[in-house]
């Protein structure tokens, strides 16, 4: 049998059998092809509840599907229309796991520009909610940990350690993780920026702005890169923060 509107039928719904017997009747030949129905049989409502219970997911139920977010999203508009924050929120709330799974390959593509959150007329923290959805998907093994998450972790650790973002260490620590040979100072065992192996793109990226930078600012930056200043009294605060974040489930 021929399928007339092939574009409407996903390949995984097409079953072809060499020999097919239905209720004892051999229907092989013309009737050996079955298209599985698309009917939605149930909702996995626990999925939505799980998202809601994440610290980043608290606003998911405020969504009313207007799509200001998706219409504003650069990833949806200029990269892949399958990346659709509004639709992900819809699917997550109802718990349509198979539909989320179909989109797993694009779901981590958010560039965290926050245009969605900034514009949402219902006060949904869209970008955060999407992270919560991914988190629950990862927890359930529906999606692999998305690459940008690794950087997020590294970033969080750096902030927790110093109470601030320390550009040099953040950048070169990350570069080391990518397999580059980074030179470290013997006492603190921290990477010394630009001394060891440095990717070409980074040299380009840094050289351009450096040319137009004020010298005082450059010296200050270099000093920070070498001496890793901490926020005052940070070590006490750090312990409290870590504890709270752990309790809230915000530390991964």
């Amino acid at each position: 049998m021929a399928i007339h509107e092939r574009s409407l039928v996903e390949p995984e719904r097409i079953l072809r059998k060499e020999r097919l017997v239905v209720d004892g009747v051999d229907v092989s030949g013309d009737w050996n092809l079955i298209i599985m129905p698309r009917v939605i049989n149930d909702y996995d409502v626990d999925f939505g509840k799980d998202v809601l219970s994440q610290p980043e997911g608290k606003t998911i139920n405020q969504c009313y599907q207007c799509s200001y977010c998706t219409a504003s999203c650069p990833v949806h508009n200029y990269w892949d229309e399958r990346y659709n924050p509004r639709h992900f929120i819809y699917l997550a709330r109802l718990g349509m796991i198979d539909e989320l799974q179909k989109r797993a390959d694009v779901m981590w593509r958010c560039v965290s520009c926050h245009k969605c959150t900034h514009r949402c007329p219902k006060g949904v923290l869209v970008e955060e909610v999407l992270k919560a959805i991914l988190k629950v998907m990862a927890k359930r093994g529906i999606i692999e940990e998305y690459p940008s998450k690794k950087f997020d972790k590294f970033f969080t650790e750096s902030v927790l350690e110093y109470g601030r973002i320390e550009d040099g260490e953040l950048l070169f620590g990350w570069i080391e993780k990518q397999g580059y040979n980074v030179v470290k100072d013997p006492i603190l065992k921290k990477p010394i920026p630009f001394v060891g192996e440095t990717p070409e793109w980074l040299k380009d990226l840094v050289m351009k702005p450096i040319k137009s930078m004020n010298i005082g600012f450059l010296v200050l930056n270099a000093k920070h890169m070498l001496f890793h200043p901490k926020t005052k009294n940070w070590s006490k605060f750090k312990q409290v923060l870590r504890k709270v974040m752990q309790e809230e489930g915000a530390l991964h």
Binding site: Q62, Y64, Q65, C66, S67, Y68, T70, A71, S72, H76, N77, E81, N84, R86, H87, R119, C120, P121, K122, G123
Partner: protein, 351 residues
């Protein structure tokens, strides 16, 4: 017998004053503008939902009755500035310096239109072809033709953007309510465009279409079935301009197709929300009336059950000062407030 003060000469206020006058109650009607009739008259609404009559047909007779009734004293360009005394014996001061003793007060100070400049991404004030539905009404009623302000020509395509300044937390807690009239009026305006300019295509961008009650057929079905107005489900998130073809682009997600969309349009009409008028907020302070903490609209007392009895005995509230409402309901509320006020004064009515 004591008289009644009616504050605001829009549909709700004139209906209250008219009913009081006919009941034989002496009434003072103060209106801050130079004419009666409120927003529909002031802003030259063209055709009114739901009966497709002109404002002069619907509101005109009320104005005439009020002006001709010897029991009603109309004071234009006048506002309420102070109120002392107690229920049954209020001493009110007006902006013209006059003072009156009144037994009861009807507040009908109405609404004002949302200022679309507050939604910068929609480009109002930036692109001349982005207009408000009020301006479209004016085009019909005063100028008598549809055109693109940028070049004076007939647009090939018109888009209506629903819910501008309504249902929107991005503006704070004040603009969460639905405007109630917007979907229906757009259905009517879209039909009028299609009727008079069959070559112009009309698109309505909606989240959901709220043409409640008997408005469903005339303002949602008929625009599609009879006039070919098209509906697209998606909220417009951004309006831009393309110098290449001089047309606007409405950016949205078509949520049914699930694809990004930036569609060319020649004229974009923003469907404005309603907010409490500055007069409503002012009068609420003067009289100590309860307001919704978020929207600032007036709210009735919980005890009475009635929606026109305020938290202050002897003071009654009617019309759009309490939230979005249509003209005919504003009339009814004004009339109900008049009856309550007359009863409060113990008026003995003989017909």
């Amino acid at each position: 017998m004591k008289s009644v003060l009616v504050v605001g000469g829009g549909p709700a206020g004139i209906a209250a004053a008219r009913a009081l006058g006919r009941l034989g109650v002496s009434t003072v009607l103060v209106e801050k503008d130079g004419q009666l009739g409120g927003n529909p008259i002031k802003n030259n609404y063209h055709t009114l939902i739901p009966r497709k009559l002109k404002p002069s047909q619907v509101i005109g007779p009320y104005i005439k009755d009020v002006e001709q009734n010897p029991n009603v004293k109309v004071l234009l360009n006048t506002e309420l500035t102070a109120c002392e005394g107690e229920p049954g014996d209020f001493k009110v001061t007006l902006s013209n310096g006059e003072k009156y003793n009144v037994g009861a007060i009807v507040v009908a100070t109405g609404f004002e239109h949302f200022d679309p400049r507050r939604k910068g991404e929609l480009g109002y004030g930036l692109y001349p072809d982005v207009i408000t539905n009020l301006e479209l009404e004016r085009m019909f009623s005063v100028e008598g033709k549809l055109y693109r302000p940028s070049n004076g020509q007939l647009p090939k395509r018109v888009a209506f953007v629903f819910c501008v300044g309504s249902r929107d937390r991005q503006l704070g807690v004040t603009n969460v309510h639905c405007c109630r009239y917007g979907c229906a009026l757009s259905g009517l305006q879209g039909s009028e465009i299609r009727e008079h300019y069959p070559d112009v295509d009309v698109f309505c961008y909606y989240m959901d279409v709220r043409t409640y009650g008997t408005w469903e057929y005339p303002f949602y079905w008929a625009p599609q079935e009879q006039y070919g107005v098209r509906y697209v489900r998606g909220r417009i998130a951004e309006i831009t301009y393309s110098p290449a073809d001089g047309r606007l682009r409405v950016k949205h997600e078509d949520t049914i197709v699930q694809r990004p969309a930036e569609v060319p349009m020649d004229l974009v009409v923003l469907v404005l929300g309603m907010e409490p008028s500055p007069g409503t907020k002012k009068v609420a302070k003067i009289l100590g009336l309860a307001q919704d903490p978020d929207s600032q609209f007036l709210v009735p007392s919980d005890e009475s059950g009635s929606n026109i009895v305020s938290n202050k005995p002897g003071i009654f509230i009617a019309g759009a000062c309490k939230g979005p409402i249509d003209i005919e309901s504003s009339f009814s509320e004004g009339e109900a407030a008049a009856a309550e006020a007359a009863a409060f004064l113990g008026a003995k009515v003989t017909v």
